[in-house]
Every structure is written in C-alpha cells, then in structure tokens.
Symmetry: C2
Subunit: 138 residues, 2 copies
C-alpha cells in the first residue's frame, strides 16, 4: 500500500507527506468506510495534527490514484475505504444503529455487457449498497 502510494504520487509529480501516510493508514485500519470527519477524528485521537481541509484534499488525491474508493450510503456524505488487499465488494447499512458491514460478493461482474447493451452507455463503475436491520436492532 505504501509502495502504491509512493509510486502513484511520483507518477504525478506529487509528494509523500506525513499527512498522506497517516490518512491512508487510518483507512487501512478501519473495518468499514469512513467519512472525512471520521478520518479527522481518528487522526486527532492518534495525536496526528492534520487539518480537516487536508483530509478532504488528501482523500481526493488518494481517490484519483485509485487507492481508495468512495462509498455513498444514503447519509448525505461520502465515505472512503482503502482498496488495498480488499476485493471489490459492497455494503449493508443498518437503519437502526447505522452499523455498516461488508458484503464480500458482487453479482454484477458478468452483467456489464448486458447493461451496456441496454443503455448504450459504456460502463466504468457501479455502486451497490443494501439497507436493512442488523441483528441487534431488528
């Protein structure tokens, strides 16, 4: 991951900084996608002083480098999760407590061709999220 980060940054003439390492590290350690505010809060907890604006800017860079993925879960905010070492997958969010769990499967791998035929668009990406109730909230 750090290797990908360095390589990606250099390829665009960008620099490896303490903030960037720390932010990517926070995402690597999380079991679920984090919002910019989440990342910022965790950095603070770890005594890493990084401004929220830098978090936003860094998330944009990491996303452009393809190191993290942006996720939308109906909350009116974006979340981000690392792509390193994790296969393409999706999520489910509890409508009671907000808990987010990974769903390590994707029924769409084979469907791209069909979607392209139906819509006449070229498909580049997709998002698939589920909403429901976790065992505790049910």
């Amino acid at each position: 991951m750090m290797t990908n980060l360095i390589a990606g940054l250099r390829a665009e003439g960008r620099r490896l900084t303490r903030s960037r390492k720390a932010i990517l590290d926070v995402l690597e350690k999380s079991k679920y996608p984090l919002s910019a505010a989440d990342v910022h809060a965790r950095l603070k907890r770890e005594q890493v002083a990084v401004d929220l604006v830098t978090v936003y800017r860094t998330l944009a860079v990491l996303k452009k480098l393809g190191l993290i993925a942006q996720v939308e879960l109906g909350e009116g905010q974006f979340r981000y999760e690392t792509r390193h070492g994790r296969e393409h997958h999706h999520h489910i969010r509890c409508r009671g407590c907000g808990r987010i769990a990974d769903l390590m499967l994707c029924p769409l791998k084979k469907l791209t061709a069909l979607v392209e035929r139906e819509t006449r668009f070229t498909v580049e990406e997709h998002s698939l999220e589920f909403f429901g109730w976790c065992p505790k909230c049910r």
Copy 2:
C-alpha cells in the same frame, strides 16, 4: 397516483395541498430523478410559486409515504423519482455530461436471501447505480 397521495396523506392526518400535488406532478412527468433544486426550478417555469423549503419538506413527506424513491448518484445531493407506474429499477450516469438513464432491470431480486445469510442483517432495500460514458461523450 393522486389517489395514493390522498389516501397516504389522510392515513397520517396530513392534508392535500396545491404544492404537494404540483411537486408530485413534476416528478411524474420527469424521465429521470430530480434534485430538490430541479423540482423547484420546474415549478417556477410552470408559474407555480412554491418555496424551496416547501419542496424539501414535501419530498420528505412523499418519501415517507412511499410515493417517491431517493436516489444517490455520486453528486453530493439527493435526487427523487416517482414510484408510480414504474417498476423497481436502477440508473446509469454519464461522467461526461451528467446524463442519467434508466436501467429497467434488477439482478438482485433473487439475491436478498443470500445477502441476509452472508451478513445476518435483514434486507429492506438496496441501491444500485452505474457510472460510465454515454454515446455522445464517449
């Protein structure tokens, strides 16, 4: 649809108003999901004076009544579309021009049981959106 609206409203002790009819009507006529601002702009174009705040409040009511669905397409805003007379379906959005097209299929109908087994959540809903390039932008 107007029938559903009246019935739904009454069931909750709410009233049928000019604004609510007009907003639902705008959504019924649109071929793609609209943002609150979109709805507001179309009302203005039709000389229907409704405040943007009322649009937001009405969208919330219609959503609660199950008459409209909320859609997220990676834009940092919500869109809404009527459910009346339209089967459950999904969308694709062009990364060039922003055009949104319906995709009248859902590969997930049979998948709920599997998702519930995998995650131990109860599944209530899902969102599936595609991103790519339309013929003109490709």
